[in-house]
């Protein structure tokens, strides 16, 4: 029973790491970036390639899995995304789907269409027991890493100068500019962080969700569900949503397998009917 709960939490945490970047771009920058999964895929491939071809240890690849997509994200933001901020949501959808198409085909061309696999270090394999509850080591690791990320993010946004500037830039671009805040730079950094987080999520998720060129589309729906249920006003919302979806999905499949894939969609619809603005609605 508790094992199931922990599995669910680990899964939810993973979803959150992948979704957090999207929540930021969507909520703070008001940009519908369906190509978010492509950055997650880049992170995944960075980890898989550096481990399999260069023999780096798993932990050492994780910073790379953050940095590379972040750099790619920043580049894409400056060259492409920046032009799209003022467009309608529908055009942003078309734009980002076009990016997904290209990313999927490029990954296929560069790395082949089969599943990319990694072998975790020994200390992350298997499971251990606390008070009779068996816990997978990797899942415990996921929970720890993701929890640290969540706290770090929250602090970054609420306590630092960067966070304050970002919020100012989002609330009123013109006023922020007037105050001497480099809005473009802040957006680029934010976007890069979001992409980096997605990449990290992709890298951490290889073991659980697999990795192949269709990855961006595969996780898109899940990530969107998390962000929508959570609402885009805060990061706490998506975090709660990710935990709910994660545990509900795992527990649902365990206790009522007949419901199968129905559960997650039913849950989403019900939650959205109850709270159309997301779990944590905008303050205004």
């Amino acid at each position: 029973m508790l094992t199931i709960l922990i599995d669910g939490i680990a899964y939810g945490m993973l979803l959150f790491v992948m979704a957090s970047g999207l929540a930021v771009t969507l909520g703070l920058m008001n940009f519908v970036n369906l190509a978010h999964g492509a950055f997650a895929m880049i992170g995944g491939y960075v980890t898989a390639l550096t481990m399999n071809r260069m023999g780096l240890p798993f932990l050492a690849t994780l910073p790379l899995a953050f940095l590379v997509p972040a750099l790619v994200g920043m580049l894409a933001e400056r060259t492409l995304y920046a032009r799209m901020y003022r467009r309608s949501h529908l055009e942003q959808v078309l734009f980002s789907i076009a990016l997904v198409f290209m990313a999927m085909a490029a990954a296929d061309w560069l790395l082949g269409s089969s599943q990319m696999l990694i072998t975790l270090p020994g200390w992350l394999q298997g499971r251990f027991e606390i008070a009779g509850i068996a816990i997978g080591r990797y899942r415990a690791f996921l929970i720890l890493v993701c929890a640290a990320l969540v706290i770090g993010l929250q602090l970054l946004l609420s306590r630092t100068r960067f966070g304050a500037r970002l919020r100012a830039a989002v609330d009123d671009q013109r006023a922020a500019r007037g105050l001497g805040i480099n809005v473009g730079g802040i957006f680029a950094l934010t976007f890069a962080t979001g992409s980096g987080l997605a990449g990290l999520g992709g890298a951490l998720g290889i073991e659980i969700m697999g990795l192949d060129p269709t990855f961006p589309l595969k996780i898109l729906v899940y990530v969107l569900i998390v962000v929508t249920i959570g609402g885009t006003a805060t990061l706490t919302g998506p975090f709660l949503a990710a935990l709910i979806i994660g545990t509900a999905d795992v527990a649902g499949k365990y206790y009522i397998p007949e419901l199968g894939a129905f559960l997650i969609y039913l849950l989403m619809i019900v939650l959205l009917i109850l709270r159309p603005q997301g779990l944590i609605a905008p303050a205004r």
Binding site: M209, K218, Y222, Y254
Partner: protein, 389 residues
């Protein structure tokens, strides 16, 4: 009754329409329309089959009985209505002599009525649901059928003294096929299946299902999932310590797909699989095939899809040889019936009754040889027919 007349009318209309086309005669090229998923989640299927088909043509020359063989590859992204449209275009516009490929069952099923209507020899190189060959008298299969392999796994499990086995299958046609076959065969042999679990096809996390398996404490678990997903399954199986708790992992060989087996690492060692082809099959024909395949496609190891494509091309070549280059649909299909040859997977033949492949089914375990993992065969069931029909 009326339906029958209509069908007849349709066939007549189609054949008169086709008669108006330029005669498919001696000297003109014989085109093979290869419809495969080249993009999307099943792209690796398409990639393997295309590579193997091209290899066959490269090895055996592109001319048979005076006809030049041309391959036309089309991507259907595993969407059935695209498959059907592409097939139709290949028939009426490109005037192919045979259709081949078909990554998934619904793709083959969508095309079958067309094959009947146009009397088009259709070689199914991948789709594995038993009923595919029943969908049209012009369909021949060179891959395998799920029941063919699963029934032998179940027989073997019973023979080894296993009493309780839980099944875990993906919730789609072939998975359900496998579940039914296993439950029936294993039950008939005196075994018990206390639980049958079905995984949603889009399922990123297996943990709840594996927990259920652990709770049931069976002798073994039988698994059928699409290749690619299998790696995750085995990893989580081992992560959960199920292998150490004495539960054996039995599976259809798709789970230890040769294409990606090397990346799976030690968790794959837990699996005992039944299948019709292993790249490690010990025969001169297979050694030559694997070597040539890897030479032409660096970094790829041929898997069961590749051998399906390779043998599919062989069926087309051999049939044309028999008809002396005549590409009349009925004659080609008649020539394919009863063909038998030595394939890289071992001796195979085409059942003249069902047009389905008859082949050996092997039980294998994964072994490390040098720095590579291989599916090593340890038991053979000879000349197995599809029990589903």
């Amino acid at each position: 009754m009326q339906r029958r007349n209509l069908l007849l009318g349709a066939v007549l209309a189609a054949s008169t329409a086709l008669a108006g086309l330029p005669a498919l005669a001696e000297g003109t090229p014989f085109k093979v329309g290869l419809i495969l998923p080249m993009t999307g989640p099943f792209a690796s299927t398409g990639r393997q089959i295309e590579a193997a088909a091209r290899l066959y043509v490269a090895e055996h020359g592109d001319e048979v009985a005076g006809r030049k063989i041309e391959l036309i590859v089309k991507d259907d992204a595993s969407v059935a209505d695209s498959t059907k449209r592409l097939a139709q275009e290949l028939i009426v516009r490109d005037k192919v002599g045979a259709l081949a490929g078909f990554g998934l069952t619904p793709l083959a099923m969508a095309t079958a009525p067309l094959s009947t209507r146009a009397k088009m020899p259709t070689v199914v190189m991948a789709a594995a649901t038993s009923s595919v060959t029943e969908s049209s008298p012009y369909v021949v299969r060179t891959s395998y059928t799920t029941p063919q392999v699963t029934s032998k796994i179940a027989e073997w499990a019973a023979k080894e003294g296993m009493k309780r086995v839980v099944t875990v299958v993906s919730d789609y046609g072939p998975g359900i096929d496998a579940e039914k076959t296993f439950v029936a065969t294993f039950g008939a042999a005196g075994g018990e299946v206390p639980e049958t679990l079905r995984l949603p096809l889009q399922n990123p996390d297996f943990s709840p299902f594996l927990q259920k398996v652990a709770d049931a404490k069976p002798d073994a678990v039988f698994v059928f999932v699409p290749s690619g997903v299998g790696a995750q399954f085995m990893k989580q199986f081992v992560e959960r310590g199920l292998d150490k708790s004495g539960i054996k992992l039995l599976a259809d060989g798709g789970i230890t797909d040769d294409d990606i087996l090397n990346g799976m690492g030690d968790p794959a060692l837990a699996a005992i699989t039944g299948f019709h082809y292993s790249a490690a099959h010990d025969s001169p024909a297979n050694k030559a095939f694997v070597e040539a395949f890897q030479k032409a496609n660096p970094g790829m190891r041929p898997n069961f899809m590749a051998v399906g494509g390779y043998d599919g091309m062989h069926a087309i070549y051999a049939a044309l040889e028999k008809t002396g280059g005549d590409s009349d649909g009925d004659k080609v299909i008649a020539a394919m019936k009863g063909l038998s040859w030595e394939s890289p997977r071992g001796p195979v033949s085409i059942d003249p009754e069902t047009r389905d492949i008859v082949q050996n089914v092997y039980l294998r375990r994964v072994e490390r040889q040098g720095d590579q993992l291989w599916n090593v065969e340890f038991e053979t069931f000879e000349a197995v027919k599809d029990p589903g029909k």
